[in-house]
C-alpha cells in the first residue's frame, strides 16, 4: 500500500508492483467465484444497482453511436458503389466493436465508480479491516458479488446496445440516407456471422470483469485520507478505460486470426 512509492528506486517498479497486485486481486476474485457460500443477496442487490445506474445512459449513448456508424459507413459504401452492403457493415461494426465498448465504458463510468467509492469509503472507515478480522474475506463477501454483477449487467447491456444500435443505424440509413429497407435487412447476414455476436458478448463479459476488479482494487487501496477516495475513483475510471482499449485490441486481433471472415 503505502510502501509502494517509497521503495521505488528503479523507475516503473512502482507501477509494476501495482499491476501485480491488481492481477493478484483478479486471481483472488477468480478463485472466490468458486468458493462457497455464494453471496446471492449481495449479488442480486449489486446487479440491480449497477443495472439501474447504467441502463438509461447506455441506451441514450447507443442510439447516436449506431447512427454515427451507419451514417459514416453508409456514405463510404455509396462512394464505393456498395450500397447493398450498408446494413452488413454497420451490423458488423456495432455488434463486434461498438456495443461491447459502449457497454464497458458505461459500466466502468457509472457502475465501477460507484463500486470504487463504496469500497473506498468502507476501507477508510476500517470496515474492511473489521470484516477481515471477523474472519470474513472481504474479497469473497464484497468484491466477488460486485464483479459478477458487473459481468452480468455488461453481458445483458451488450445485448441491449446491439439491438438499439442496429435499430438506430437502420433508422438513420433508411430515413436520412434514403437507403432501401429491404437491402439493409437483406445484407444483415452478408458479412456478419454468429461468432461476431459471441465475441461481442465475450468482450462485454471480460470488460465487465476488468471494470469491477479495477474499481475494487482502487477502492481497497485508496491513497490516504478522504480525498484519497475521490482520487481513487477518478483513477479507477481512467485505468479501466486504458485497459479496456488495450484488451479490446488484443481480443479483436485474436478473433480475426481465429475466425475467418465471412466473404462468400
Amino acid at each position: 500500500m503505502s510502501s509502494g512509492a517509497s521503495t521505488a528506486r528503479v523507475p516503473g517498479i512502482g507501477m509494476l508492483r501495482e499491476t501485480g497486485k491488481l492481477f493478484a486481486l483478479g486471481l483472488d476474485v477468480g478463485r472466490g467465484i468458486f468458493q462457497r457460500p455464494f453471496q446471492l443477496r449481495e449479488f442480486i442487490q449489486q446487479s440491480w444497482f449497477i443495472a439501474s445506474v447504467t441502463i438509461l445512459p447506455t441506451a441514450l449513448v447507443a442510439i447516436p453511436f449506431g447512427a454515427v456508424i451507419s451514417l459514416q459507413f453508409g456514405s463510404l459504401a455509396r462512394q464505393l458503389g456498395a450500397q447493398s452492403y450498408t446494413g452488413a457493415g454497420s451490423v458488423l461494426a456495432t455488434v463486434q466493436q461498438a456495443s461491447p465498448l459502449v457497454t464497458a465504458l458505461l459500466v466502468a463510468g457509472a457502475g465501477g465508480s460507484a463500486i470504487c467509492a463504496d469500497i473506498g469509503a468502507r476501507t477508510i472507515r476500517e470496515e474492511i479491516d473489521a470484516m477481515e478480522v471477523l474472519g470474513v474475506s472481504a474479497v469473497q463477501r464484497l468484491i466477488v458479488p460486485r464483479v459478477l454483477a458487473c459481468m452480468l449487467v455488461a453481458l445483458l447491456l451488450n445485448g441491449m446496445v446491439s439491438v438499439i444500435g442496429v435499430l438506430g443505424g437502420y433508422f438513420f440509413n433508411v430515413v436520412l440516407q434514403d437507403g432501401t429497407p429491404g437491402a439493409y435487412l437483406a445484407s444483415f447476414s452478408a458479412l456478419a456471422q454468429l461468432p461476431d455476436l459471441w465475441v461481442g458478448e465475450l468482450k462485454a463479459l471480460i470488460f465487465g470483469f476488468i471494470a469491477a476488479v479495477v474499481a475494487a482494487y482502487r477502492g481497497l487501496n485508496p491513497p490516504p485520507g478522504p480525498k484519497g477516495v475521490g482520487d481513487a475513483v477518478n483513477q479507477s475510471v481512467v485505468i479501466t478505460f486504458l485497459l479496456l482499449f488495450v484488451v479490446n485490441f488484443v481480443i479483436t486481433l485474436i478473433y480475426l486470426q481465429i475466425v475467418p471472415a465471412k466473404l462468400d
Binding site: 510502501s3 476500517e126 473489521a130 477481515e132 471477523l134 474472519g135
Partner: protein, 383 residues
C-alpha cells in the same frame, strides 16, 4: 481460558522507514495488558500486525501454535475467529443497523437459528448498555455508543483474545472509566486475553495486569504493571507525567542539544506541563460485584510470584504490598516484608522458589458456564 499470544522479534517497516524492531513479548492467557506509547510509534500498526492485516517484515506471532505471520490464508481466517477487535471508531458497517452489525459474525460463521442469534445479540447489547438501540444506524449514534457497539460485535463469537485500539479516543474521562470497567467485567466473565493500546495514563495505571511501552522504534519494556509504574526510565516517567521535560519531543525523539536547551528553559522557570508527580502503584480496578472473580488475575499472581526475584526492587515491593494477608500466607511470605525499606532490594527468593507446587492455583471446578466452550463454528468450506 484465553489464548496465549507469543510474539518474537517482530519487525515492521514501511519502505525504508522502520516502525518498530524486534518486539518480543508474551501476552499471558486471560490477563489484561496495556501497550503505551507516544502518538506515531506504531501502536495501531502493532495491533494490525498481530491479526495479520499488515505483514511484518520479520518475526513470529504465535497463537495456539499458529504463526500468524507465515500461515496459510485459510489458517489465518480460522485463527482470526479467535480474535475480537475493537477499532478506534468501532468500525461498524455503515449500511447495517446495530442489531445486524452485532449479528453479522454469527450469521457468517455459525448455523444458529435467527431466534438464537437474537438471544445472543440482545444479550451482548444489554451487556454493553445498548439495549433498545438495536434499530439505530451507526451514523445516528454517538461515538461512545459506536465504540460499545463495536465491543458487542467483537464479543459475540466469544473470542479468546480481544484487541482494543485506543478505547479512550473521543470519550470523556468518565466514559473511559466505564468502558474500562466493562473490559474488566468481560475479562472476568469470558477470561479472554486483552491487549489495549492507548495513551491514556489513568487507564494504564488502574486497569491492566501488564504494561508495555513502545518508544524509539522498540519495545522499551513489557511486564507486570508494577515494573513500569515504578520505573525510573526517563521516557516512562515523562510519559506517565505528561511533561515536556524528557526524551519525547513534539515530532519524534529529541536530540541531546534540544533536550539540553529545553532543560535550561525549564530550570529558568518555564512550566514543563503536567500537574502533579505521578508516582506509585494505584490499586487496580476490579470487576463489578456479582461478576465472577477474574481467573486471569489469579493466574497472574502465581506467575508474578514465580518471577518476582527477577524484577526490579521497587516493583517487587509494590507487588508484595498489593498482596492480601491470605495471599501472603499462601505464598509463604512473612509480614515483615511489607514494612517498606525493611528488606528492600533483598528478595525473598528462597520463599518464592518454594511455592507450593502442583500447579499452584487450580481452576475452580464448574463455576460459571464454561468460558472455554467454543461456539460450534461453521466451517467455510475448505478452500
Amino acid at each position: 481460558m484465553g489464548a496465549e499470544v507469543v510474539i518474537e522479534g517482530l519487525t515492521k517497516s514501511f519502505g525504508k522507514q522502520a516502525i518498530w524492531r524486534d518486539v518480543t513479548l508474551t501476552l499471558p492467557p486471560g490477563e489484561v495488558s496495556v501497550m503505551l506509547g507516544p502518538s506515531g510509534t506504531g501502536k495501531s500498526v502493532f495491533l494490525k500486525s498481530m491479526i495479520g492485516l499488515l505483514k511484518p517484515d520479520r518475526g513470529k506471532c504465535v497463537i495456539n501454535g499458529v504463526d500468524i505471520v507465515r500461515c496459510s490464508e485459510h489458517k489465518l481466517y480460522e485463527t482470526r475467529k479467535l480474535f475480537g477487535v475493537l477499532f478506534q471508531d468501532g468500525a461498524l458497517f455503515g449500511s447495517m443497523n446495530l442489531y445486524d452489525n452485532v449479528a453479522f459474525p454469527l450469521r457468517e460463521h455459525t448455523k444458529k437459528s435467527e431466534t438464537e442469534i437474537r438471544r445472543i445479540v440482545l444479550e451482548k447489547l444489554e451487556m454493553t448498555g445498548l439495549a433498545g438501540a438495536e434499530k439505530k444506524l451507526p451514523g445516528e449514534i454517538s461515538g461512545g455508543m459506536r465504540k460499545r457497539a463495536g465491543l458487542a460485535r467483537a464479543l459475540v463469537l466469544d473470542p479468546e483474545i480481544i484487541l482494543v485500539d485506543e478505547p479512550d479516543s473521543g470519550l470523556d474521562p468518565v466514559r473511559t472509566t466505564y468502558i474500562s470497567q466493562l473490559f474488566l467485567d468481560v475479562n472476568a466473565q469470558i477470561d479472554a486475553t486483552f491487549l489495549i493500546v492507548t495513551h491514556n495514563i489513568n487507564l494504564a495505571r488502574t486497569v491492566p495486569d501488564n504494561l508495555g511501552m513502545l518508544f524509539r522504534k522498540e519495545l522499551v519494556m513489557f511486564g507486570p504493571r508494577e515494573v513500569l509504574l515504578t520505573s525510573e526510565e526517563p521516557v516512562v516517567k515523562q510519559f506517565l507525567n505528561g511533561r515536556m521535560d524528557g526524551p519525547i519531543g513534539m515530532s519524534e525523539e529529541k536530540d541531546s542539544a534540544t533536550m539540553a536547551a529545553e532543560r535550561a528553559m525549564f530550570e529558568a522557570g518555564h512550566h514543563a506541563g503536567g500537574v502533579e508527580e505521578v508516582v506509585g502503584i494505584p490499586p487496580q480496578m476490579q470487576p463489578a460485584p456479582g461478576v465472577p472473580e477474574r481467573q486471569g488475575a489469579r493466574r497472574r499472581k502465581d506467575r508474578v510470584m514465580k518471577i518476582l526475584h527477577t524484577l526490579p526492587p521497587a516493583a517487587q515491593q509494590g507487588i508484595l504490598d498489593s498482596l492480601s494477608p491470605e495471599d501472603r500466607r499462601y505464598y509463604g511470605i512473612g509480614e515483615q516484608h511489607s514494612t517498606v525499606g525493611a528488606r528492600r532490594g533483598q528478595l525473598p527468593t528462597e520463599d518464592v522458589a518454594q511455592l507450593p507446587d502442583g500447579g499452584g492455583w487450580r481452576e475452580p471446578q464448574s463455576t460459571q458456564s464454561h468460558p472455554t466452550q467454543r461456539l460450534p463454528r461453521y466451517d467455510q468450506g475448505t478452500s
